[in-house]
Symmetry: C2
Subunit: 231 residues, 2 copies
Amino acid sequence: MRLVIAKCSVDYAGRLSAHLPLATRLLMLKADGSLLVHSDGGSYKPLNWMSPPCTIAMSEPSDEQREFGITELWTVTQGKTADLLIVSIHEVLHDSAHELGVDPGLQKDGVEAHLQKLLAEQIELLGEGHRLVRREYMTAIGPVDILATDAAGRSVAVELKRRGDIDGVEQLTRYLELMNRDPRLAPVQGVFAAQEIKPQARTLAEDRGIRCLVLDYDAMRGIDNADERLF
Amino acid sequence: MRLVIAKCSVDYAGRLSAHLPLATRLLMLKADGSLLVHSDGGSYKPLNWMSPPCTIAMSEPSDEQREFGITELWTVTQGKTADLLIVSIHEVLHDSAHELGVDPGLQKDGVEAHLQKLLAEQIELLGEGHRLVRREYMTAIGPVDILATDAAGRSVAVELKRRGDIDGVEQLTRYLELMNRDPRLAPVQGVFAAQEIKPQARTLAEDRGIRCLVLDYDAMRGIDNADERLF
DNA sequence: CGCTGCATTTCGCAT
DNA sequence: ATGCGAAGTGCAGCG
């Protein structure tokens, strides 16, 4: 990895056109040829970048460009998408290269998969007498997160989200419509379960007879097993 | 901005738990206190990070940690969300600080806004005799991208996307349902316009009587004006 | 290999 | 502030 702090301007032409006026920024060149342009703020997202696979060409500026103060030109191209990124460097303030090696990668634990596993194990959170039929119940238009039965043995289809948005309600509605045509399943009750449900989503869901269930992830995890804490 | 290349392991506990095994990585400390952990590959997304506002505390390791080879500990916390990120540093290979100043920011030009402008100008792409009523036509549940009339003077509502997905069809469907209840507008014909329309979205749209229109951005831009090229 | 759904999404705009 | 839609989204899993 090569790290360059430089006064530069940047132009990008691809799916959109973008321009960065002259300022001091970090240019990060990764081993795979990709380039990231970072400022000293914002989030983790670079101001501009070029994703691999791409090739970078360093070149001398023309006389005209030199008159504008450009001392160095970096042209980054992506063969497939014809994207083009040009870094016009005016002054290099720092330049260092480092051998990092291959990263073993991130180990994740959590999110929707875990939530689904927990709810499957604690299926009575749906209501007394509920039983799990199966997770990822396959339908013609995709898998329903959880299929269960209520105390009376009627089908219950659960759509799980971390954040319950209107999209999730639409998705569940499509599933329910389809599943209710299946005489082996009908009538199917819908449950929209999430850690947090947006008011609009709740309104839409309840308007369609879909039950809303707010899940307490920490509590569910606490019931599950109190041993898997990180610290 | 402070740049540190270090052999380190990283633990994150927040909405999920994540762990990075010992390896050499770039630690980027931004002026706003945020921290990014980058490897020498992947995309523009860091392996791990902490978003601002957050505070970072450097501390000495305990004797036990020192035995494991840890020479320095960075603890990053976010007051509001109680997220916690811990960097266990084993060896510092590079450490430099740089004054970058405030970035003037990115100037964008393109994507959906431009596509909307172009289609408004070239409204006959919808069909002969079509006329623009207005862009961002406001309804109770949000703005319709384009409202037009066809040759016979009937209303046409256009939903624009760069990539035509099933979500866009659902969105347009909600608009149409609402607008068709308005006697001044009804009957309203729906047009789903995008640079690329997914087969599933097309099927759903056509099943609901919504017309699909694939737009050629480059051609539309070419007709519009051939002067605004960057290079 | 293409499609689908998730994301510690982030970002920007409008209410 | 808050909610909502878009992103040069990236990424992983699965058919």
